[in-house]
Structure formats: C-alpha cells, structure tokens
C-alpha cells in the first residue's frame, strides 16, 4: 500500500482496568484504508471504535496484530496522524492563536512562517477576530473549529477524528459537516472518522465500516459511492436513504446486543 494508506492486520486489544477483569475490546480487526479516503467507523457505544482510532494514533500500544501507515508500522503518536477529539482538547490556558501555534512550534518552522500559517487556518475555520480569545470564552462549535484548525495547521497526511461533533447541538453539527467537507475539498487527506451517528457517517464518508458490539470486529463495509457529487445532492438521492436505512438496521442490531451485554454486567 503506497502513499498514506493505512492497514490494520488482525488487531486485537484487551482493556485491563485497575480493578476487575480484563475485557477484550477488539477482536482481530483487519481493515485497509485507501489513500485520501474518508472512512467512517460506525458502531454502538463500547464497540471499540475509539480504541481502534487510539491504536492507530499510537496512544495505545498495539499488542496483537499490526497497524501500518504507508508501509511503516505504527509505534507511537506523531504529527503524521493528526487527531481531533470530541471534547476539543484545547489547552485552556492558551488563546486560540496560541493553541494553533502549538503544533507549528513543534514543527520548528521559522517564526514568520508560523504566524502566517496560524492566521491562515484561523481564517479557514472562520474564526478571524478571535485570535486572542481563551477557550472558556468560546462556544462549543467555535472550540471544535479551533481544534480542527490546530490539527490541520501541521498538515498531517492522515486525520483522525473521534466523534468530533458529538458534543455539539444539531444545528452546529450540520454547519460543521459543511465546513469539514469544504476543507477536505481544498486540502484532501486520509480521514478516519469515528461516529455512532449513521446519517453523519453516510453524509461525510466514502466508505462506512460497521463495527460489531464488543468485542469489536468489522461487521461490514459499505461503499457510499459519492462519484464526486456534492453532499447536498447525495443527501437527496434514493441511494442515500437506502444506505442510511441499511446501516441503521445493522448498527441497531449491534446496539441491542451491547445493551444486553451491559445489563448482564458483561
């Protein structure tokens, strides 16, 4: 797999809490993500989709199996795989601009270049004028835009997103979808996007991978077949509704399973 393709080979992960029994979170997950593809990981809570993302990000060690990016095995976090979290993960003591500059400083760019880039991305996410605001002064949607700008500013080849719009209200979420698609158009990247929202997955992704209830496996993969059409057009099509229904059904079965697991204390 050339370029920035991602390969998961029989990846398993066991969650070992300080108290209690170990739990198998992922069971032999194998998956290939094509270069410049937008892949959605869809599944009920607890299915391990975030865990898979964290393994890819290098935040958790891969104990069983192998994850490779562009042929090289993943061994730790790095600026080639930028991550955006659900609760924004902004440094609250830094201003918007300082947050975005953080990654750029780590890249050791010259000062003038850093400032220019930071401003560029502030403008890209439509936060011009808020450079000196602190996260505590921003709304949820604005915070998420800062988080996205911060990650994009270091220009990672791969973008990992962990339910990034989950903490936002429905309206803001809709706006963020548009913004994200717009950004992807201007600077395409490989994206792995975790969500439990079926419509969101179909709206944004090229392919949707459905994960089973714990232990997580890839249950099925659905091609969305965008064919270069803009999202608003796709939304109105018949296939969109069909795919949503199909995926909804698939996820629902897993969600019910997960619920049973929880009530049994498993």
């Amino acid at each position: 797999m050339a370029g920035t393709g991602i390969t998961f080979e029989s990846v398993s992960h066991t969650y070992r809490p300080a108290r209690g029994r170990p739990v198998l979170a992922l069971d032999q997950v194998s998956l290939a993500v094509r270069e410049r593809e937008f892949l959605a990981l869809l599944g009920p809570s607890g299915c391990g989709k975030s865990t898979l993302l964290y393994l890819l990000g290098g935040f958790l060690p891969v104990e069983t199996g192998r994850i490779s990016v562009a042929g090289a095995e993943v061994s730790g976090p790095g600026p080639d795989r930028g991550i955006v979290f659900q609760n924004f993960a902004l440094f609250p003591w830094k201003t918007v601009k300082q947050n975005i500059l953080y990654g750029l400083e780590k890249q050791r760019l010259p000062r003038v270049e850093r400032e220019k880039r930071a401003q560029e991305f502030i403008d890209l996410v439509h936060l011009t004028g808020f450079e000196d605001s602190y996260p505590s002064q921003l709304s949820g949607g604005m915070k998420q835009r800062v988080a996205i700008a911060r990650t994009l500013a270091i220009d990672p080849a791969i973008l990992l997103m962990d339910e990034p719009f989950g903490a936002l209200d429905a309206q803001t979420r809709g706006l963020m979808h548009e913004e994200l698609l717009g950004i992807m158009e201007r600077r395409p990247k490989t994206v792995v996007f975790v969500t439990h929202d079926v419509r969101e997955a179909v709206y944004l992704a090229d392919r949707v991978a459905v994960m089973s209830a714990r232990p997580g496996r890839i249950k099925e993969i659905v091609e969305i077949g965008r064919n270069g059409r803009p999202a608003p057009e796709i939304v109105k099509s018949r296939e969109f509704a069909d795919k949503v229904e199909h995926l909804w059904d698939s996820v629902r079965k897993e969600a019910l399973l997960a619920q049973v697991q929880r009530s049994e204390g498993g």
């Binding site: 290098g58 790095g78 609760n87 993960a89 440094f91 830094k94 780590k106 602190y134 505590s136 002064q137």
Partner: protein, 246 residues
C-alpha cells in the same frame, strides 16, 4: 455590599475596644485601649524594632515557603508523571501527612540550632506535603486527550510534562500554595515563639514577658494584619494567573 458596610462590625468592635477599657469596664492593663495600642505600634515602628523583626520574619517565611512550594510542586508533578517514583514515595507521603509538622520544631532545633535555619526548615517541612499532594492531584487530573493532542502535534514526552501537565495542574498547585501560605505563617510564629532570637513572634512574646502589653497587642495585630494581607494579595495574584479560566 460595599467593603465598608461589610466590615462595619469590625469597626464597631474597634470602637468598643477603645471605649470599654477607658470607661474602666475592663481592666485596662489586660486590655489596653486601642489608641494606646496604636501609639505603642507607632513607637515600635519608629524605634525600628518592628521593621527589623518584621524583616527577619518575612525573610524566613519567604525562604521556607518558596522552598516548600518549589520542591513540593516539582515532587508532586514528577510523582504523578513517573509511576516508579509514585510507587516509591506516595506511601511515605500518605504516612507522614497526618503528622503535625509543628511537632518537628524541636527536632529542627536539635539538628540546626537556635536560629533562622531551624525556622526556615520548620516552615519548609510544614508546607511541603500539602503542596506535594495538590500538585500530585492536579497533575494526575490532566485530561489525557490534552496529553495525546500534544503528542500528536509532535511534542516529546518531556515537552508534554512542561507544556501540558504543569499548566494543567497549575490551578490545583496554586490552591495548595494558598494553604501552604497560611501554614507557613503558623509555623513561622510558632517557631519564633519556641526558638526566639528575632522575628515578630519573638518580639510579641518578649514584650509580653516584659509587661509591655500595649506593644504586645500592637505586635499581635501586626502579625494578624500581615497574615490577612498576604492571603488577600495571594488571592489576587492567583485570580489573575488563572484569568483564562473564567
């Protein structure tokens, strides 16, 4: 409520403090009228006694407190960051925490003699553990997604410690330092009572033993005022340092 209205009862008490002894309702030798205390205070200031002892106290306080906070915060953060250090040190901290540190003043005298060193050491030891614990809790409570975001941005683990963990722990460290500040005053005065030599605590007990009660009260009020002001000033500093919190 304006500050004046809020502190009115204190003004009333002050007025009572003046009137009641003067009217002879209370033995004026045990409770000198406030004006006498004020006059004595002025005299202490003029003679230089207040200033020289005050400076000695402040020096020892700042030294002990600064050491306690620096060592304590560093230790607490490092303990939270490096598991092996935590396993080793934490039980010790937990065991020593409930012990009243003021009980160590005699040991300090034994080790360091009757001078500034034992006062500073007493203050240092008293402040240390509360700061260690609050720094530890603050550092432990760092949201892991902040650490991960920094790592993903290309920061080394050591950079993450300085650039994410410490700023994240700062609110708790500052809160713990406020406690340490109060404790440091207590240990300062106690060690000055016990060790003597110099300092406001020494001055107060010296004046008391000598029967100069007006001056003694003046000294006590001075210490109280300094303690109060220090806390208020610290609070203001803390608020501005944490202005980003809102």
């Amino acid at each position: 409520m304006s500050a004046l209205a809020r502190y009115l009862p204190l003004l009333l008490l002050a007025a009572l403090w003046e009137i009641v002894p003067r009217l002879g309702l209370i033995d004026a030798s045990s409770v000198p009228p406030l004006s006498a205390v004020a006059a004595a205070w002025w005299e202490l200031l003029r003679s230089g006694d207040l200033v020289s002892n005050g400076l000695s106290s402040l020096q020892n306080l700042c030294a002990g407190l600064a050491l306690g906070v620096l060592v304590g915060a560093s230790l607490g953060v490092l303990m939270a960051w490096y598991r092996p250090l935590d396993d080793f040190v934490h039980p010790l901290v937990r065991a020593l925490y409930p012990m009243p540190k003021s009980a160590l003043i005699p040991v300090m005298i034994l080790w360091l003699g009757l001078g500034s060193a034992s006062k500073i050491a007493s203050i240092f030891i008293g402040c240390l553990l509360p700061v260690v614990l609050s720094a530890y809790n603050g550092a432990r409570g760092v949201d892991r997604v902040l650490v991960w975001s920094a790592l993903a941005a290309g920061a080394s683990r050591r950079a993450v410690l300085w650039e994410v963990v410490v700023p994240s722990a700062l609110p708790e460290i500052l809160a713990g330092t406020r406690n340490a500040l109060a404790l440091s005053f207590i240990l300062l005065v106690s060690s000055e009572f016990v060790i003597g030599q110099r300092g406001l605590g020494y001055l107060i007990s010296f004046l008391g033993e000598g029967g100069a009660y007006d001056s003694m009260f003046a000294g006590v009020l001075t210490v109280a005022a300094v303690g109060f002001l220090a806390d208020r000033i610290y609070l203001a500093i803390m608020r501005s340092a944490l202005a980003w919190r809102d």
